[in-house]
């Protein structure tokens, strides 16, 4: 397998937590460094990225690839007004795009793996549908976004657990997994199926080799957490503590990537359809974003695409 571009899926469970804004901002910063950067709008059925990069009428979109109008994914890429920044838009996706069939999803994942860009950022939708989970698992570098509100935190925990669960599920066929679920129910009582840490334990007992493989996988993940829309009076240590809890109780290592301050100007910039970073470069939020991009897109490391290439 050849070395691929750096892929950062950005997800967060809750809608409105700033995934798309963060994707577009990180994309602009990465492009600003001279890296050939591609944004892919995988918020299927609720695409926004084209608006955030000021490209209201993209000529091509992701659906063209799914509908076989354009055979190669790289041909659906459109240029944006920003230098070095490219986009696969979801603006005119077909109305049934949200329910991407399995084969199409696999086709997409494989195509993404073959794209030739320096950096690729995936903007994922809210919720924990299989599409979102599988796109998130395409890379080791997934980024979770949450805001300091119980609703958002609840959803991000659920997303993390779902991803964990999905990864385990990948390793088994239907009947074996059914057997595992029953075993888990028997061992830990009802509801254990929904606790990936319990499922992992059952896997360890029944399939030690698969357990080692999954464990290996998870040790390779470099998930990150971003705490977005932090108000002045919010607890600035919240992100660290969330990561600690996940590590302690789920056994998953997630690195805290940083806080992004709340700013009403973000709203203004989106309404005016201009780049927030350019319009308000000296706000605290802009500073936070630049810091974040240092720890996210500017870090180099081994990037691997798993399962699909």
């Amino acid at each position: 397998m050849e070395l691929m571009a750096y892929v950062w899926p950005i997800g967060g469970g809750k809608g409105g937590s700033g995934k798309s804004f963060l994707t577009s901002s990180l994309g602009r910063l990465s492009a600003g460094l001279g890296k050939k950067t591609l944004l892919i709008d995988l918020d299927l059925g609720a695409a926004n990225l084209h608006t955030l990069v000021d490209l209201p009428y993209p000529t091509k979109c992701f659906s063209d690839f799914i509908r076989k109008k354009i055979p190669r994914l790289e041909d659906t890429v459109v240029e944006t007004p920003v230098e070095n920044l490219y986009l696969i838009s979801g603006a005119h996706d077909n109305l049934d795009i949200a329910n991407l069939p399995y084969e199409q999803k696999i086709k997409t994942l494989k195509a993404i793996a073959r794209l030739d860009y320096d950096h690729i950022l995936l903007d994922l939708g809210a919720g924990t549908s299989f599409n979102t989970l599988d796109f998130f698992l395409i890379s080791h570098n997934g980024i979770f976004v949450t805001t300091p509100e119980p609703t958002s935190i609840e959803n991000v925990y659920r997303l993390i657990r779902s991803i964990y669960f999905r990864r385990i599920r990948h390793c088994f066929n239907v009947t074996d997994f059914k057997a595992l679920e029953e075993a888990a129910d028997e061992l830990y009582g009802r509801g254990a199926v929904n606790r990936p840490e319990c499922m992992m334990e059952v896997v360890r007992l029944k399939y030690p080799e698969t357990h080692a493989q999954i464990q290996d996988d998870f040790n390779g993940f470099r998930f990150k957490l971003v705490l977005n829309q932090l108000r002045r009076h919010d607890n600035a240590g919240l992100g660290q503590q969330i990561c600690r809890i996940i590590e302690k109780h789920l056994g998953l290592r997630i690195e805290f990537a940083g806080n992004v301050a709340y700013d009403d100007h973000v709203h203004d910039a989106i309404c005016a359809r201009v780049s927030f970073l350019e319009r308000y470069p000296y706000t605290r939020t802009a500073g936070d974003l630049r810091e974040l991009s240092k720890s996210v897109v500017q870090t180099a490391g081994e990037q691997m695409l798993i399962n699909y290439s």
Binding site: P148, E149, P150, I153, E154, Y157, R158, E186, L187, Y188, R195, E197, C198, E201, L205, N235, L238, Q241, I242, R244, I245, K248, H249
Partner: protein, 231 residues
């Protein structure tokens, strides 16, 4: 049986941690660090916490909090901690030589309040003062007087060999008020409500009985005197 073991393996994951791991501290942490870690842990796991919102069921949360409580109470107690450390060493979790220095570093207290050492002399002083009052007929005579003025109080105090500074230190009454009381200078004294309390405290410090009555007489004399001045 097998299923009981399995149950413990995961559900007890937190319970299986040793107390140091539960609180995220090193085995050589000093009590100050332990307290700090405990407060952090409570903040993370308490029922209303934003950090762990929806992460645990009600039951799990209760269990975790109970473990943290137990860990904290064991580790802050020097003796219990020694016992616990010994057990960890026995189980091979801790190495024997990681033992802390004998004298734990303690946080430096900001106020050196050592009540026990102060209380003792005060009691002794009181007994001494009472003995002196009993020996000195002059004090008894003053205490019997109908109108008591500042000079009388001063005489008692000097007879007992107590300085104004000592009284000020003990009663926290300002020195200039004490001087004004002895000089019967109404103009420099606070309002009668406060003044009566001050005089009582002054007399109490000197162990002169009955403080209440004498102070009433002092107040009466003072008001007569100031009225006389006014007219």
């Amino acid at each position: 049986m097998a299923d009981m073991e399995g149950k413990r393996a995961v559900q007890g994951k937190f319970a299986d941690l040793n107390y140091y791991e539960m609180l995220d501290i090193r085995p050589d942490a000093v009590p100050f660090e332990i307290r700090h870690a405990y407060q952090n842990a409570i903040q993370m796991y308490e029922p209303g916490s934003l950090v762990s919102y929806s992460f645990f069921s009600e039951h799990e949360r209760k269990e975790i909090l109970a473990h943290i409580e137990k860990a904290y109470l064991t580790l802050v107690n020097g003796k219990e901690r020694q016992g616990y450390d010994a057990e960890l060493v026995r189980r091979g979790v801790l190495k024997g030589d990681v033992c802390r220095e004998k004298a734990d570093k303690k946080p430096v207290s900001i106020f050196s309040i050592s009540r026990s050492s102060v209380l003792q002399p005060v009691c002794q002083k009181k007994a001494e003062l009472k003995a002196r009052i009993a020996q000195c007929p002059r004090i008894g005579a003053i205490a019997q007087k109908t109108d008591i003025c500042g000079a009388d109080l001063q005489e008692i105090r000097e007879a007992l060999g107590v300085t104004l500074e000592q009284i000020a230190d003990e009663t926290k009454i300002r020195l200039d008020y004490l001087r004004a009381i002895e000089a019967s200078e109404a103009s420099r004294l606070p309002a009668p409500v406060f003044l009566k309390g001050f005089v009582k405290a002054y007399l109490k410090h000197l162990c002169v009985d009955p403080g209440e009555e004498i102070s009433t007489r002092y107040m009466a004399a003072l008001s007569v005197q100031s009225e006389g001045k006014a007219s």
